[in-house]
Subunit: 358 residues, 2 copies
DNA sequence: AAAAACTCTGCATACGCATGCAAAACGCTT
DNA sequence: AAGCGTTTTGCATGCGTATGCAGAGTTTTT
């Protein structure tokens, strides 16, 4: 009963070999780039393969090569359009290199263990961690297991694992310069997840540069990168007896929520009554209804750096952690009062680049 | 040289077996739910496994069971927040069932072949097609290959493959009722991808019901579900000698773009000068700055129906195509002039439910 | 024309696990 | 204590492919 039954989708290399009158090895070599095979037999095999509807079984191939050509991407949440954007670009880049993207999402801080287990079981070739809140043990453990890991938009203290970030500290400084130059006197900060490196750096740079300008007061509330928590934070901050003239919100995703609260719950006019600046230059920030003045994180540059590092490590087997830091720009829009000088237009975008002497 | 080398992460069931003093079969059975194994040996194996850091190799398991526990999700684009939302929920549901999500994105209409090849090679257990524009041949071909497929938010004429949609035709009708009841006299429609089923149905229902109200003129422009194309379409439509009083935009993603054009390029006040309604009730539609009156597509209901159907088909092997159609609500916000009657408030949401007799 | 240097090809094996089958161990009953 | 049924165990095999090795075939060199 094994000779007459035609299995649905189970065409194997043996059947193709038989049909083409060659050995199974020949079939395998036909589908292995760079293998030693003559043009003639290759053609024969390809013809038989097409006729039988054969496709190499990636699972079996993975088993023997111990390479799955699968990259795991771990993202905490997709609510923030910056991440879908990143995800799409990562997919594109990986596909171009013949890799595939296994998505893990929705795992915030706790419960990272099951995720990790899954990753390991699937023998993924590499891992991209774009989750701002995943325990750093996980990344260490992966590194130990010999699986290349790249942190996206995040770093750890111990630099045992590669990362790609933007100059968050400089971004924070630049925003401080911008707001001070714009004549603001009092400032607020709505934080992301407090122990995330991006949050620490953005706040650090902001506060540092405010100090340079002689400002040592900064009202802080926490929004944990969540829309609703940011709204709560905004309500608190705007209800203060004297509310800050300018608020730096740790990312655009929250900044949108904060703007909505300011406008529709407090009736404030932006930027006349209140200036708001954000970070990421993500989708909604660019929409005219928000027009958020924001420091950009260049998605293309960051994603391609990520994929480059990851694939390099996979192919070379070299585990030396690399850190790529890319530069963003302060993109000036309408959500914050502008300084008299320093705003220039390049390629249709308004940027803030204070002259060095100031 | 094979006996002394310790491979990085290559702990196999044999090594665990040896360490625990049992056979490899015992190890396998320990990690196979429902297999025949005594509590005692199971405990021994688990202990050894933990000590050696053993994890079953999912690839090898897949090879033998011919079940990968991987579901492919094909999405054309993530720019529209509705889809990231869906994606996240699908990930959650699949993870809960022990399945994983292989993401394919960025492939619009053409070039579906490579995607298909990849899918087949990875022996995915099922496919969720949330791409509004992928050729229907693909879905047929998968069905032929015996891989369960569910179309998400989309159907085909030949109902050879399962699908989950919402009542798009009814939604279109309801919007027509709503706008007519709101006193609008002239209407426009900004279309999605023209041959997509959702677009056809929404437009069909809208136009049909306008006719019922004696309106037979409808200005149509196409936005192809893309933000920039929707902007172009909006500019055209709003530049018309007599512009429509109300515009139905085929989804919220485009409606946001249209609102921005209307407000910031044409200086129109919404809803005083122009009413806009959308579809999906996606993220930005709910943000106060847009507040789009929109027919909802319940993400949770749709995703869980999708996963249910898919897993059912995988487990039963039954290929009978199922079609689940879920109901949405017309959620009333501020982007369109409201009718005098029919708007009711339930659970803090304003809905439009015209009394049947009208 | 023979030898040398390549290029192809098939054979055999291994990757890590699941599972049918038969033997062994166990728990009860008579 | 022997017989029976039930659970547990190990053996052996197979899933579909890649690849080292040796032999066959082909081209180049002397």
């Amino acid at each position: 009963m094994d000779g007459g039954v035609i299995k649905r989708a189970g065409v194997t290399s043996f059947q193709v070999a038989e049909h083409a009158g060659v050995s199974q090895s020949a079939v395998s070599r036909t589908f292995t780039p760079g293998a030693s095979i003559s043009t003639k037999t290759r053609a024969k095999v390809l013809m038989s393969a097409k006729e039988l509807g054969y496709r190499p079984n990636a699972i079996a191939r993975s088993l023997i090569t111990s390479r799955s050509r699968i990259i795991a991407v771990v993202m905490a949440y997709l609510e923030n359009l910056f991440y879908p954007d990143v995800l799409e670009e990562l997919g594109r880049l990986l596909a171009a290199e013949g890799y595939h993207l296994l998505l893990f999402t929705g795992f915030m801080d706790r419960d990272s263990d099951p995720v990790f287990d899954q990753l390991m079981q699937y023998q993924v070739d590499g891992i991209i961690l774009a989750s701002t809140s995943l325990s750093s043990e996980l990344s260490d453990e992966c590194a130990t297991a010999g699986i290349p890991v790249v942190l996206f938009n995040r770093t750890t203290e111990r630099d045992s694992v590669s990362s790609v970030t933007s100059r968050n500290r400089e971004g924070g400084r630049l925003l401080a310069d911008f707001l001070v130059a714009g004549g603001h006197k009092s400032f607020g900060y709505i934080a992301g997840i407090e122990n995330s490196s991006t949050n620490r750096d953005r706040l650090g740079g902001f506060r540092e540069q405010l100090l340079v300008h002689g400002v040592d007061e900064l009202v802080i509330r926490t929004g944990n990168y969540s829309r609703v928590e940011a709204q709560v934070a905004a309500r608190e901050m705007l209800s203060l007896p004297v509310r800050p003239e300018a608020i730096f919100v740790a990312n655009d995703h929250m900044a949108v929520a904060v703007m909505d609260v300011a406008r529709y719950e407090f009736g404030l006019s932006i930027p006349d009554d209140l200036s708001i600046v954000g970070y990421d230059d993500a989708g909604p920030a660019r929409w005219p209804s928000y027009g958020i003045t924001s420091v950009s994180q260049p998605v293309n540059e960051m994603t391609s750096a990520t994929v480059d590092i990851l694939l390099d490590q996979i192919h070379s087997g070299d585990m030396e952690p690399l850190h790529r830091i890319v530069s963003g720009e302060l993109i000036v829009r309408s959500s914050a009062r502008q300084p008299a000088a320093g705003v220039i237009e390049i390629d249709g975008r308004c940027l803030y680049r204070p002259s060095p002497g100031t």
